[in-house]
Point group: C2
Chain length 120, copies 2
Amino acid sequence: MEEQRALAGFAALSQETRLRIVRLLVKAGPDGMAAGAIGEALGGASTSRLSFHLTHLEHAGLIRSRREGRFIIYSAVFPTLAGLIAFLMRDCCDGHPEICAPVAAALSCSCEPGKDALHG
Amino acid sequence: MEEQRALAGFAALSQETRLRIVRLLVKAGPDGMAAGAIGEALGGASTSRLSFHLTHLEHAGLIRSRREGRFIIYSAVFPTLAGLIAFLMRDCCDGHPEICAPVAAALSCSCEPGKDALHG
DNA sequence: TCAACCTCTCAAGATTTGTTGATATATAAC
DNA sequence: GTTATATATCAACAAATCTTGAGAGGTTGA
Protein backbone atom coordinates (compact mmCIF):
# COMPACT_ATOMS: atom_id res chain seq x y z
CA MET A 1 0.00 0.00 0.00
CA GLU A 2 1.30 3.44 -0.87
CA GLU A 3 1.08 6.50 1.32
CA GLN A 4 -1.81 8.28 -0.36
CA ARG A 5 -4.01 5.24 -0.08
CA ALA A 6 -3.14 4.79 3.59
CA LEU A 7 -3.91 8.44 4.28
CA ALA A 8 -7.30 8.06 2.62
CA GLY A 9 -7.95 5.00 4.74
CA PHE A 10 -7.08 6.62 8.04
CA ALA A 11 -8.99 9.78 7.11
CA ALA A 12 -12.02 7.63 6.40
CA LEU A 13 -11.72 6.02 9.83
CA SER A 14 -11.25 9.32 11.64
CA GLN A 15 -14.90 10.33 11.65
CA GLU A 16 -17.37 8.98 14.19
CA THR A 17 -20.13 7.96 11.80
CA ARG A 18 -17.70 6.32 9.42
CA LEU A 19 -15.79 4.45 12.11
CA ARG A 20 -19.09 3.06 13.38
CA ILE A 21 -20.07 1.99 9.90
CA VAL A 22 -16.80 0.16 9.37
CA ARG A 23 -17.01 -1.63 12.69
CA LEU A 24 -20.58 -2.60 11.94
CA LEU A 25 -19.53 -4.04 8.59
CA VAL A 26 -16.49 -5.77 10.04
CA LYS A 27 -18.86 -7.60 12.36
CA ALA A 28 -21.38 -8.24 9.59
CA GLY A 29 -18.76 -9.98 7.48
CA PRO A 30 -19.03 -10.74 3.75
CA ASP A 31 -22.84 -10.72 3.79
CA GLY A 32 -22.78 -7.03 4.53
CA MET A 33 -25.72 -4.78 5.32
CA ALA A 34 -28.12 -2.64 3.32
CA ALA A 35 -27.64 1.13 3.54
CA GLY A 36 -30.97 1.49 5.32
CA ALA A 37 -30.09 -1.13 7.91
CA ILE A 38 -26.80 0.64 8.57
CA GLY A 39 -28.63 3.92 9.05
CA GLU A 40 -30.97 2.30 11.53
CA ALA A 41 -28.11 0.69 13.45
CA LEU A 42 -26.54 4.13 13.72
CA GLY A 43 -29.69 5.48 15.30
CA GLY A 44 -31.13 7.21 12.28
CA ALA A 45 -28.84 9.34 10.18
CA SER A 46 -30.37 11.30 7.33
CA THR A 47 -30.06 9.50 4.01
CA SER A 48 -27.86 12.18 2.48
CA ARG A 49 -25.50 12.16 5.43
CA LEU A 50 -25.32 8.38 5.41
CA SER A 51 -24.73 8.30 1.69
CA PHE A 52 -21.99 10.89 2.00
CA HIS A 53 -20.08 8.74 4.47
CA LEU A 54 -20.70 5.46 2.65
CA THR A 55 -19.37 7.01 -0.55
CA HIS A 56 -16.37 8.34 1.34
CA LEU A 57 -15.60 4.89 2.77
CA GLU A 58 -16.09 3.18 -0.56
CA HIS A 59 -13.82 5.66 -2.30
CA ALA A 60 -11.18 4.92 0.32
CA GLY A 61 -11.51 1.23 -0.52
CA LEU A 62 -12.56 0.21 2.98
CA ILE A 63 -16.01 -0.96 1.93
CA ARG A 64 -17.66 -1.93 -1.32
CA SER A 65 -21.25 -2.06 -2.54
CA ARG A 66 -23.47 -4.29 -4.61
CA ARG A 67 -27.07 -3.86 -5.62
CA GLU A 68 -29.68 -6.41 -4.60
CA GLY A 69 -33.11 -5.47 -5.84
CA ARG A 70 -33.78 -1.99 -4.60
CA PHE A 71 -31.29 -2.31 -1.77
CA ILE A 72 -27.63 -1.47 -1.92
CA ILE A 73 -25.58 -3.78 0.23
CA TYR A 74 -22.30 -2.61 1.73
CA SER A 75 -19.56 -4.86 3.10
CA ALA A 76 -16.08 -4.45 4.53
CA VAL A 77 -13.01 -4.93 2.36
CA PHE A 78 -10.69 -6.84 4.67
CA PRO A 79 -7.55 -6.72 2.54
CA THR A 80 -7.63 -2.92 2.62
CA LEU A 81 -7.90 -2.95 6.41
CA ALA A 82 -4.98 -5.36 6.50
CA GLY A 83 -3.01 -3.08 4.20
CA LEU A 84 -3.49 -0.10 6.49
CA ILE A 85 -2.14 -2.00 9.46
CA ALA A 86 0.78 -3.39 7.49
CA PHE A 87 1.68 0.05 6.15
CA LEU A 88 1.69 1.54 9.62
CA MET A 89 3.83 -1.15 11.17
CA ARG A 90 6.23 -1.87 8.31
CA ASP A 91 9.80 -2.28 9.51
CA CYS A 92 8.58 -1.91 13.07
CA CYS A 93 10.48 -4.74 14.56
CA ASP A 94 13.72 -4.84 12.68
CA GLY A 95 15.78 -6.93 15.02
CA HIS A 96 13.56 -6.29 18.02
CA PRO A 97 10.56 -8.63 18.00
CA GLU A 98 9.54 -7.72 21.52
CA ILE A 99 8.80 -4.13 20.55
CA CYS A 100 5.81 -4.65 18.34
CA ALA A 101 4.67 -7.93 19.84
CA PRO A 102 1.73 -6.22 21.61
CA VAL A 103 0.51 -5.03 18.25
CA ALA A 104 0.58 -8.50 16.79
CA ALA A 105 -1.07 -9.85 19.92
CA ALA A 106 -3.94 -7.39 19.46
CA LEU A 107 -4.93 -9.29 16.37
CA SER A 108 -4.59 -12.82 17.63
CA CYS A 109 -8.30 -12.98 18.28
CA SER A 110 -10.27 -16.08 17.51
CA CYS A 111 -8.87 -15.99 14.00
CA GLU A 112 -6.55 -18.81 14.84
CA PRO A 113 -8.69 -21.67 16.15
CA GLY A 114 -7.54 -22.96 19.50
CA LYS A 115 -5.63 -19.80 20.24
CA ASP A 116 -6.78 -17.50 23.02
CA ALA A 117 -6.00 -13.82 22.69
CA LEU A 118 -5.60 -13.37 26.43
CA HIS A 119 -3.77 -16.49 27.39
CA GLY A 120 -2.33 -17.79 24.14
CA MET B 1 -10.00 1.26 23.90
CA GLU B 2 -13.12 3.35 23.73
CA GLU B 3 -14.49 5.04 20.65
CA GLN B 4 -13.34 8.59 21.31
CA ARG B 5 -9.77 7.49 21.81
CA ALA B 6 -9.83 5.44 18.62
CA LEU B 7 -11.23 8.40 16.68
CA ALA B 8 -8.45 10.61 17.98
CA GLY B 9 -5.93 7.98 16.95
CA PHE B 10 -7.19 7.60 13.42
CA ALA B 11 -7.58 11.36 13.02
CA ALA B 12 -3.97 11.74 14.07
CA LEU B 13 -2.90 9.24 11.42
CA SER B 14 -4.99 10.84 8.69
CA GLN B 15 -2.61 13.68 7.95
CA GLU B 16 0.45 13.25 5.74
CA THR B 17 3.01 14.88 8.02
CA ARG B 18 1.73 13.05 11.07
CA LEU B 19 1.56 9.66 9.37
CA ARG B 20 5.18 10.10 8.27
CA ILE B 21 6.20 11.01 11.79
CA VAL B 22 4.55 7.92 13.24
CA ARG B 23 6.12 5.62 10.69
CA LEU B 24 9.48 7.21 11.32
CA LEU B 25 9.10 6.63 15.06
CA VAL B 26 7.80 3.09 14.60
CA LYS B 27 11.03 2.33 12.76
CA ALA B 28 13.12 4.20 15.30
CA GLY B 29 11.78 2.07 18.13
CA PRO B 30 12.04 2.89 21.85
CA ASP B 31 15.11 5.09 21.39
CA GLY B 32 12.99 7.57 19.49
CA MET B 33 14.17 10.69 17.69
CA ALA B 34 14.66 14.34 18.59
CA ALA B 35 12.13 16.80 17.20
CA GLY B 36 14.78 18.42 15.06
CA ALA B 37 15.87 15.09 13.57
CA ILE B 38 12.26 14.31 12.74
CA GLY B 39 11.90 17.65 11.00
CA GLU B 40 15.01 16.96 8.96
CA ALA B 41 13.84 13.50 8.00
CA LEU B 42 10.61 15.07 6.78
CA GLY B 43 12.56 17.36 4.51
CA GLY B 44 12.42 20.46 6.64
CA ALA B 45 9.10 21.45 8.15
CA SER B 46 8.89 24.75 10.02
CA THR B 47 9.28 24.33 13.76
CA SER B 48 5.78 25.57 14.53
CA ARG B 49 4.24 23.22 12.02
CA LEU B 50 6.27 20.30 13.30
CA SER B 51 5.44 21.12 16.89
CA PHE B 52 1.76 21.40 16.05
CA HIS B 53 1.73 17.88 14.64
CA LEU B 54 3.91 16.37 17.37
CA THR B 55 1.60 17.82 20.00
CA HIS B 56 -1.39 16.47 18.13
CA LEU B 57 0.13 12.97 18.01
CA GLU B 58 1.14 13.07 21.64
CA HIS B 59 -2.31 14.18 22.69
CA ALA B 60 -3.74 11.24 20.75
CA GLY B 61 -1.43 8.95 22.72
CA LEU B 62 0.39 7.64 19.66
CA ILE B 63 3.74 9.10 20.67
CA ARG B 64 5.30 10.39 23.85
CA SER B 65 8.12 12.75 24.65
CA ARG B 66 10.99 13.04 27.09
CA ARG B 67 13.56 15.77 27.50
CA GLU B 68 17.26 15.06 27.07
CA GLY B 69 19.35 18.14 27.55
CA ARG B 70 18.00 20.73 25.18
CA PHE B 71 16.47 18.12 22.92
CA ILE B 72 13.01 16.66 23.20
CA ILE B 73 12.93 13.05 22.15
CA TYR B 74 9.78 11.55 20.72
CA SER B 75 8.99 7.83 20.47
CA ALA B 76 6.09 5.66 19.36
CA VAL B 77 3.64 4.24 21.89
CA PHE B 78 3.12 0.72 20.59
CA PRO B 79 0.27 -0.29 22.89
CA THR B 80 -1.84 2.57 21.56
CA LEU B 81 -1.18 1.46 17.99
CA ALA B 82 -2.15 -2.06 19.01
CA GLY B 83 -5.30 -0.74 20.63
CA LEU B 84 -6.39 1.01 17.46
CA ILE B 85 -6.07 -2.16 15.45
CA ALA B 86 -7.84 -4.23 18.07
CA PHE B 87 -10.69 -1.72 18.30
CA LEU B 88 -11.19 -1.77 14.56
CA MET B 89 -11.19 -5.53 14.21
CA ARG B 90 -13.02 -6.51 17.40
CA ASP B 91 -15.55 -9.29 16.78
CA CYS B 92 -14.40 -9.45 13.20
CA CYS B 93 -14.18 -13.14 12.89
CA ASP B 94 -16.92 -14.46 15.06
CA GLY B 95 -17.17 -17.99 13.78
CA HIS B 96 -15.40 -17.23 10.52
CA PRO B 97 -11.62 -17.29 10.98
CA GLU B 98 -10.96 -17.17 7.26
CA ILE B 99 -12.50 -13.72 6.90
CA CYS B 100 -10.01 -11.65 8.81
CA ALA B 101 -7.05 -13.97 8.36
CA PRO B 102 -5.44 -11.56 5.84
CA VAL B 103 -5.52 -8.86 8.47
CA ALA B 104 -3.70 -11.01 10.98
CA ALA B 105 -1.25 -12.08 8.30
CA ALA B 106 -0.42 -8.43 7.64
CA LEU B 107 1.14 -8.27 11.06
CA SER B 108 3.03 -11.52 11.03
CA CYS B 109 6.17 -9.70 10.04
CA SER B 110 9.49 -10.66 11.50
CA CYS B 111 7.95 -10.26 14.94
CA GLU B 112 7.78 -13.98 15.27
CA PRO B 113 11.28 -15.33 14.67
CA GLY B 114 11.40 -17.99 12.03
CA LYS B 115 8.09 -16.93 10.57
CA ASP B 116 7.95 -15.46 7.10
CA ALA B 117 5.15 -13.00 6.35
CA LEU B 118 4.86 -14.08 2.74
CA HIS B 119 5.25 -17.82 3.05
CA GLY B 120 4.49 -18.56 6.68
C1' DT C 1 -48.48 3.49 -15.76
C1' DC C 2 -48.78 4.81 -11.02
C1' DA C 3 -47.36 4.73 -6.38
C1' DA C 4 -44.28 3.33 -2.89
C1' DC C 5 -39.72 2.41 -1.63
C1' DC C 6 -34.61 2.78 -1.28
C1' DT C 7 -30.78 5.34 -2.15
C1' DC C 8 -27.90 9.03 -4.41
C1' DT C 9 -26.59 13.93 -5.80
C1' DC C 10 -26.18 18.76 -5.32
C1' DA C 11 -25.57 23.45 -3.32
C1' DA C 12 -25.12 26.38 0.72
C1' DG C 13 -23.73 27.29 5.22
C1' DA C 14 -21.31 25.98 9.55
C1' DT C 15 -17.42 23.90 11.63
C1' DT C 16 -12.91 22.02 11.96
C1' DT C 17 -8.19 21.72 10.65
C1' DG C 18 -3.58 23.17 8.93
C1' DT C 19 -0.11 26.78 7.78
C1' DT C 20 2.49 30.85 8.48
C1' DG C 21 5.21 34.19 10.91
C1' DA C 22 6.32 36.26 15.13
C1' DT C 23 7.41 35.54 19.79
C1' DA C 24 8.39 32.96 24.13
C1' DT C 25 10.64 29.36 27.08
C1' DA C 26 14.28 26.29 28.34
C1' DT C 27 18.97 24.39 28.17
C1' DA C 28 23.84 24.69 27.14
C1' DA C 29 28.30 26.88 25.99
C1' DC C 30 31.39 30.66 26.40
C1' DG D 1 25.31 36.80 32.02
C1' DT D 2 25.27 36.83 27.26
C1' DT D 3 24.71 34.29 23.14
C1' DA D 4 23.42 30.24 20.54
C1' DT D 5 20.62 26.21 20.16
C1' DA D 6 16.24 23.53 20.45
C1' DT D 7 11.51 23.59 20.79
C1' DA D 8 6.78 25.42 22.08
C1' DT D 9 2.96 28.83 21.79
C1' DC D 10 -0.06 32.24 19.83
C1' DA D 11 -3.06 34.73 16.47
C1' DA D 12 -4.68 35.20 11.91
C1' DC D 13 -5.70 33.49 7.62
C1' DA D 14 -6.58 29.65 4.21
C1' DA D 15 -8.40 25.32 3.14
C1' DA D 16 -10.82 21.06 3.83
C1' DT D 17 -14.79 18.71 5.84
C1' DC D 18 -19.52 17.86 7.66
C1' DT D 19 -24.48 18.68 7.88
C1' DT D 20 -28.80 20.02 6.08
C1' DG D 21 -32.61 20.23 2.97
C1' DA D 22 -34.44 19.75 -1.53
C1' DG D 23 -34.77 16.98 -5.37
C1' DA D 24 -33.67 13.12 -8.67
C1' DG D 25 -32.70 8.03 -10.27
C1' DG D 26 -33.65 3.34 -10.18
C1' DT D 27 -36.56 -0.76 -8.64
C1' DT D 28 -40.71 -3.21 -7.34
C1' DG D 29 -45.55 -4.43 -7.21
C1' DA D 30 -50.41 -3.26 -8.29
